[in-house]
């Protein structure tokens, strides 16, 4: 059901542009990502979680390369920009040499699962006290909508034109499920940002992951399913449902592992 503002009874407050809305710890509210992109919502969740835990003056975010990299010079927490796929090893170097820091990586599915899978697996197996965050939209958004290692079967991309075919392209890797089996992980969960409820749940997952890191409990991981209407080649307003019916049907949201005490 679509909502609209009745023009015969305009609201009292002046209208707001996206530029006027500046989320916590994000410097400039306006972003250059596509309308309907899920990544700015995920970034906002991460920053709000850091702020709520009062970790702002201890945190270092290590960025991978993807559309979300547009935020790496737009945050009011310290940022170390890594190469495509390589954020977990940089995060390891930061954490090991400055154990008082809270270190999070911001990576995409292409970055983390395609290019840099071994980095995140080894960091998890080492029980590295860092939090890796994957924004999973099932495509290389930045390059224009190509198949990644998480693209679901049947999904059409520029390199799987008739849809991902198991026989031709192989099957998607469900990274959270893989990480949950590794002994070094303390917390592994998958959230989504395609509805207000899912955004609120995702923020709770992020808070839990930060708690794990504060308690030195081991490796923590939050995968966030994000909309990419551009890379999915669909209308912007269809993206939340598309996420639900396609991505989330395979990469199912939920807590996969939590070894922290209540």
């Amino acid at each position: 059901m679509s909502t609209y503002l009745p023009t015969d009874n305009p609201p009292d407050e002046p209208s707001r542009l996206v530029d006027d809305f500046v989320p916590t710890l994000i410097d400039v509210g306006a972003h250059h990502l596509c309308p309907g992109c899920g990544e700015p919502i995920a970034m906002r969740c991460v920053m709000e979680a850091i702020d709520e835990r009062e970790l702002t003056a201890r945190s270092v975010a290590v960025f991978g390369i993807g559309c979300y990299t547009a935020f790496s010079n737009n945050l009011d927490i310290e940022v170390l920009q890594a190469l495509h796929g390589r954020a977990p090893s940089l995060a390891t170097g930061v954490k090991r040499s400055k154990p008082s820091t809270i270190v999070v990586t911001i990576q995409g599915d292409g970055d983390m699962v395609s290019e840099g899978l071994q980095e995140v697996l080894h960091a998890a197996a080492r029980g590295e006290n860092i939090t890796c965050i994957m924004l999973n939209n099932g495509v290389f958004g930045e390059t224009g909508g190509h198949m990644t290692a998480t693209t679901v079967l049947g999904q059409r991309t520029k390199t799987s034109l008739e849809g991902r075919d198991a026989a031709l392209h192989g099957r998607p890797i469900l990274l959270s499920s893989l990480l949950a089996q590794i002994d070094g992980t303390a917390f592994v969960a998958r959230g989504a940002v395609n509805s207000a409820g899912n955004v609120a749940r995702t923020k709770k997952l992020l808070l839990r992951a930060l708690t794990a890191q504060e308690q030195n409990a081991g490796f923590s991981f939050v995968e966030i399913l994000t909309m990419c209407p551009t890379g999915w080649f669909i209308e912007t307003e269809e993206a939340p449902d598309y996420l639900n019916d396609n991505l989330a049907a395979v990469h199912e949201p939920g807590v996969l592992k939590d070894v922290l005490g209540q």
Binding site: L25, D27, V28, T56, A57, R58, S59, V60, V62, S72, N73, N74, L75, D76, I77, E78, V79, L80, Q81, A82, L83, R86, P88, S89, L90, A91, T92, G93, V94, K95, R96, S97, K98, S100, T101, I102, Q118, E119, H122
Partner: protein
Amino acid sequence: MTLRMAPQAKDPQLLQGSEAIADAMIAAGCRFFSGYPMTPFTEVLEVMARKLPEVGGVCMNAESELEAIGMAWGAAATGTPSATGSTGQGLSLMQESLSEITLARLPLVVLNMGRAQGDYYQATRGGGHGDYRHLVLSPADAAEAIDLIGLAFDLTERWRNPVVVLGDYYLAHTARSVTIPAMKTRETPEWALDGSSGGTRHAKLISPLGTAKQRDDVGYDIAVHYADCVAATNEMIANVEPLAEVESTDDAEIIVLAFGTPGAYVRAAVRQLRSDGLAVGFIRPITLFPFPSDLVARATQGVKSVAVYENNQGQMLDDVRLAVLGNAPVHFIGGLSLDSSGFGIAPDLEVSVLVDRIREVAAR
């Protein structure tokens, strides 16, 4: 935390090159080291794994050279004096990161414990992308390696640019009596990350894409950043003094050049020929980048010929030719090792063989 001090400057010890290099790194203030085993780099990693924790440092046995350089990158960003390294093959894997660490303007010492000398191009030209240069230091023995390790940490701190120390198999595995200098402590630089600038509205950013923030109304401008990096590189090149060992070049008719451990053998051959009355001189570049071009140009003015020995197919040869600029013929008297071990131990590294090759050049 109690720190067990490394031996003071007064205690000479018999150490393998690898151990001397590791001890020198710790004395120079290195507190983070990461690596992946590969001969002849392995022993440096082993010694660092044993000794770095004793001084409160961290040594990581990374899962690959990609992770090794990534970990060192992260540690360097916290202002911790850091080093990594490998053998040429491992360095090949690290090249993407080496380029970008340079563009992120971070200090890092990188050991290339090469096998033979085939990594001269890789070290001096760099195998990575983009406009960047690394300072390259090449020791002839363990004693000089200790000095150059100290210099490498000073230079990388001063110029915020990686410094490569190019060693070889002989250096790593030859034991010498050496003296490790006293422990040096280094200040944490103001740009270092520790999280504390978060929430100040001026949170620090370290990125190979630049450090301009969107709030300053600009954001990343790669063209501007790359131009700044080139300016910083040029300033570094203009200010770093090229080093070389020079012997009996004043009246020389033939000048022989070599670098690294083979340099010591070539020097012995040149000394022998001098005592036999041949007017031969010797130059051993110690900084391979910046190459001591002016020195080579001056020394070779008016000579009859120039000879270059390298344990490869002729790589430094290019830099020598560029320096000599056609003022004298430049002959290559080195070559690839035919040794079956694969470690590039040159059968021609025998003073009598080198003497004969230099005589052949003299007879031309």
